[in-house]
Amino acid sequence: MSTLASAYTPSTTGHPVRQVLARRPELFTLMLLVALCAFVAAANPDFLRLATLFDLARASVVIGLFALGVFVILAAGGIDVSFTAIAALCMYGVTKGVVEFAPGLPLPVVFTLSIAIGLGLGLVNGFLVHHLRVPSLIVTIGTQYTFRGLLLTFIGTIWITTLPPQMDDFGKVALLTTTSSQGATIILPLFVLILPAVAVLTWWILRRTLLGRAIFAVGGSPAVAERLGYDLRSIHLFIFGYAGALAGLAGIIHACSNRQANPFDLVGSEIDVIAAVVLGGARITGGTGTVVGVVLGTLLVVVINNVLIMAGVPSTWQRVVVGAFILIAGAFMVNRRRA
C-alpha cells in the first residue's frame, strides 16, 4: 500500500526550525521570553540579581493562577472575563468575614472558604453558559458586573489594611531569602510554590484524564463532541467551576501577598491575563494550547510589566510592548495555519 501511505505525509513545508515551531508554538513564546530577558539583562545587570527574580516569581502567582483558569475555559472554546471579579469578591469577602466574625479562623479554612466561594460563583457562570446557550463572553461580562456590584454594594468598599495575623504571616513565610542592592532583605515567599503545583494539576487534568481530552474535544467542535457522547453540561460546569476556584485561590493569595484587601483591586487586569494565555500559544478560538505555553506566556507578561522599567523603558511603553508581542505572536500563529 505504498501509494496510500505516501498520500498521508502531512504537508510540512519550510525550514526545519519552522516545522518544529509549528508543532510547538510555545517554543516561540520561550524565544520571546529569552530575548526579552537578555535585552533587559544587557541594559541593566541588576536584572539577574536574586532579588529581581524573587519579585518576578511573587508577581507571577496571581496572574498565573488566573491564566491557568482562563486557559482551561479557552481550551473548550469559551472565554471568561469574570474571574477578576470573582477573585476580588472572594478576597475581600473572606478577609472581611475573618476580620469581623472569626479572627482566629485557621488559615487552611480561610483558603478553603475562598476557593469554595470562587467555585460556587464559577459554577454559576457554567450553569448560565450551558442552560442559557449564550456565548460565554456575554455571560461573563454580565457576571463580572454583577459579582463586582454585589461586592461593593453588600460587602463593603473600605480598604482593609490590617490583615488577620494568620494571613499576614502566611504572606511572609520565606522559602528563600536574599538582600537587595539597597541592602534590604527580600524573601521568596513560600506561596510561590502554589503556581507550579496548580500548573502540574492542570496539566494532569488536561492531558491525562478523559475530562481533559473532552475539554479539548468541545473546543474543537461542541456539536461533534456532543454527538460522540461527551456530556457537555459536566464539561461546562467543570471548566467554569475550576476557573472560579482558581480565582478564589488567587484572590486570597493576592491579599496575603499585598498584606491588605482592596475591594477595588484586580478587576481590570483581565486583558493582561488573556494576553498571557494567547502569548503562550493558545488560540483565542479555542481547542489548542499547552500548560507550559500558558506558564511561559504568564512569565512574559510579568517580565514586561515588572522589569522593562529596569532597562530604561518608561512604564507607559509597557503596553506598547505587550501589544507588539501579541501582534507578532498572532501573525506567527496565522502563518502557522497556512503553512
Partner: protein
C-alpha cells in the same frame, strides 16, 4: 464487473441468525415535515446493507435515530434483544452501534490517535469523564484500527492533528474510529465520497473482514456501482417510507433509480457529439509543487473536458490551479491566445473562469446565509444601488432567476443554504459561478454527495451551458459521470497527463487501467513522494 460474482451470496449469510437490531414502525416529524412514516428495518449480524434513496427521503433521519441523535416520535427500537423507545448516544455506542457521519465528526484539533481511540475510553467509563486515560490502550487501539484501514501507524502520524490531514485521509480516520471499538453495527454515511478507486477497494476489504467478524455494515450512499461491487441487501427509501428491500443483485440500476425517484432516469450519454469550437484555453507545462508536473492540454468553446486520476495524481491540484485557488510554480495558461496570469480566484474571475469547488460545505457556501446572498455574492459590484449599498430589488431578481433556471427546490430565497439538500446546495454553488457570466466553467466533483435525481438535472444544466458555447472542465473520480457528459477525458497519473481519450469510445475499464497502470511501478521506483 465484479457484482456478478457477488450476486447470490447475500441472503444466505444472514439466514437463521437472530437480528442485532430491529426498528419497527418508526415515525419522526420535524415541525411540519413527516420525515419517517412507519419505517421497519432489521439488521442481522455479518450482513451488509445499502440504504438507498434521494436526499431528503429520510435516510439521515433513520441513521440519526439508530445512533442516538434523534428520538423517534413513534415506534420501537430493538437493540441486542432489548426494547427501547429511543436511544442515547452513549447507549448506542455501548451496544456497539458506530456511525461514520458524512461530515466525519472528527475533532480537528485532536490527534489522530485521540480521534480514533477516545470513544472507546468514553464507553469504557460509561460516559463518566472523571476517569484517568489509559494511554497505552489508546495508542494500541489506534494502531490496530489504523492498520485495519491501511493507514500508517507511526508515532508521527498518531500525533498529527486531524485538521492537518487531507479530506480522504480524514475519511479513513473516521472509519478507523468506528471499527476501533467492538462494533456490532457500523453505519457509514457516504463513506466513499472523497476516496479514489483504490481507496474504495481498500475500504471494501475492510468491510469484508468486518463481515467475517460478524459485524453488520449499513452504507448510505449514492454510488450504485460500489453497492453492486460490495453486494448485500438494498433498502430503498422514498419520501420517508421503505419502498423496496432485497438482495442488491436482484435490482437493476434502472430499477433502483426508478424506485428511488419514482420516475424513470436513463443512464444514457447526455453528451451529443459536437464539432469543437475555437480554442479558448491552452495550458502548457502547468506545474505546482510535487503533485502537478508539466500538465498541458487545450480546451475549446462548447467543449466538455473531463479530468480524472487517483487522489494523488494531481487532478485536484490542476482544478485548483485553473481556478487560481492554488498557485502554479511553472508553466503558463493562455486564454483566447493571450497569456493569462491566474494567481488568485479574483484573477480567474477576471479572465472569465468560474470555479465550483469540491468541498462545497467548507469552500463553496456561506452555509448559514440565505440562498439569495449566496447566489449574488460574486456580483455585488454589479448590483450597486444608491449610496453604494446593494440594490436589494436587483439582487432578488437575479437570485430568483437562478432559482428558476437551475430548478433549486426552495419555497423562498431567504432560507439558509444549510437547510437545502445536497443537490440543491450544489445548484446554488453552480448558480453563483454562472452569475459572473464566465466563459470557462471548472466543476470540481460536481455531484459528490448528490442523489440520482439531482445528478440528472445538474448534468442537463451543464450540457445546456456547453450548448451555449461555454467551455466546461469536469474534474471528477466518478467515471460514469465523465463518460456520460464529456467530449474528451484526460487521465492524470503522478502529476502528468498520461492519456487523452475520446469519451464516446472509452470505457471505465480502459480508463481505470491507465489511471493505475504503472503506478505501483512508479512508487516502487521511489519516484513518488
Amino acid at each position: 464487473m465484479d457484482h456478478i460474482v457477488e450476486k447470490t451470496r447475500s441472503r444466505a449469510d444472514g439466514a437463521g441468525v437472530a437480528p442485532f437490531l430491529a426498528v419497527k414502525d418508526i415515525h419522526k416529524r420535524f415541525g411540519g415535515v413527516h420525515a419517517l412514516r412507519g419505517v421497519s428495518v432489521t439488521i442481522t449480524p455479518g450482513q451488509v446493507y445499502h440504504l438507498l434513496g434521494e436526499n431528503g427521503c429520510g435516510k439521515s433521519t433513520l441513521i440519526k435515530i439508530l445512533s442516538g441523535v434523534h428520538r423517534p416520535d413513534e415506534g420501537v427500537i430493538e437493540l441486542a434483544g432489548r426494547e427501547h423507545r429511543s436511544l442515547s448516544a452513549i447507549e448506542a455506542l455501548e451496544a456497539g452501534v458506530e456511525t461514520v457521519y458524512q461530515d466525519l465528526s472528527l475533532l480537528p484539533n485532536l490527534s489522530v490517535a485521540e480521534n480514533v481511540g477516545l470513544s472507546q475510553q468514553l464507553v469504557r467509563a460509561h460516559g463518566r469523564l472523571a476517569t484517568v486515560l489509559d494511554r497505552g490502550l489508546l495508542a494500541d487501539t489506534a494502531r490496530r484500527a489504523l492498520s485495519a484501514v491501511n493507514l500508517p501507524t507511526s508515532e508521527d502520524f498518531l500525533s498529527t492533528a486531524v485538521g492537518d490531514l487531507p479530506l480522504a485521509i480524514r475519511q479513513l480516520v473516521a472509519i478507523a474510529r468506528a471499527i476501533a471499538v467492538k462494533a456490532r453495527l457500523v453505519i457509514m454515511d457516504e463513506p466513499t465520497t472523497s476516496l479514489t478507486r483504490r481507496e474504495v477497494d481498500n475500504l471494501i476489504d475492510v468491510v469484508r473482514s468486518l463481515q467475517q467478524d460478524g459485524v453488520a455494515v449499513l452504507f448510505v450512499t449514492h454510488k450504485l456501482d460500489e453497492c453492486y461491487q460490495i453486494g448485500g441487501e438494498a433498502i430503498i427509501f422514498r419520501d420517508g417510507r421503505c419502498v423496496a428491500q432485497g438482495p442488491m443483485s436482484s435490482f437493476s440500476k434502472e430499477e433502483l433509480s426508478r424506485l428511488m425517484t419514482g420516475r424513470v432516469v436513463d443512464g444514457a450519454r447526455y453528451r451529443q457529439a459536437k464539432p469543437a469550437g475555437a480554442t479558448v484555453l491552452r495550458a502548457t507545462g502547468l506545474t505546482s509543487g510535487e503533485r502537478l508536473r508539466e500538465a498541458s492540454f487545450s480546451l475549446a468553446a462548447g467543449e466538455i473536458l473531463g479530468i480524472t486520476g487517483l487522489l494523488d495524481s494531481g487532478r485536484n491540484e490542476l482544478a485548483r490551479v485553473l481556478a487560481g485557488v492554488q498557485r502554479s510554480t511553472a508553466g503558463s495558461i493562455e486564454i483566447d491566445g493571450a497569456a493569462a496570469r491566474i494567481e488568485s480566484p479574483r484573477d480567474a474571475q477576471a479572465h472569465g473562469v468560474a470555479y465550483v469547488p469540491e468541498d462545497r460545505l467548507t469552500e463553496g457556501l456561506f452555509l448559514d446565509k440565505p440562498i439569495e446572498t449566496n447566489l449574488v455574492a460574486l456580483v455585488l459590484d454589479r448590483l450597486r444601488g444608491a449610496f453604494g449599498g446593494v440594490d436589494r430589488k436587483r439582487a432578488r431578481m437575479l437570485g430568483a432567476r437562478f432559482v428558476a433556471d437551475l430548478k433549486i427546490a426552495t419555497p423562498d430565497l431567504d432560507r439558509a443554504v444549510s437547510a437545502l439538500s445536497g443537490g440543491n446546495q450544489q445548484r446554488v454553488v453552480i448558480g453563483r459561478a454562472l452569475s459572473n457570466q464566465p466563459r470557462i466553467l471548472v466543476l470540481h466533483g460536481p455531484t459528490v454527495g448528490v442523489d440520482v435525481g439531482s445528478k440528472d438535472s445538474i448534468y442537463r444544466v451543464v450540457q445546456s451551458l456547453a450548448e451555449d458555447g461555454m467551455a466546461v472542465v469536469i474534474v471528477s473520480d466518478d467515471l460514469p459521470e465523465l463518460l456520460q457528459n464529456c467530449d474528451r477525458i484526460l487521465v492524470l497519473r503522478a502529476g502528468r497527463v498520461v492519456s487523452d481519450l475520446p469519451a464516446d469510445t472509452a470505457d471505465e475499464d480502459a480508463i481505470l487501467k491507465v489511471m493505475v497502470a504503472t503506478d505501483d511501478a512508479v512508487a516502487h521506483a521511489g519516484e513518488a513522494p
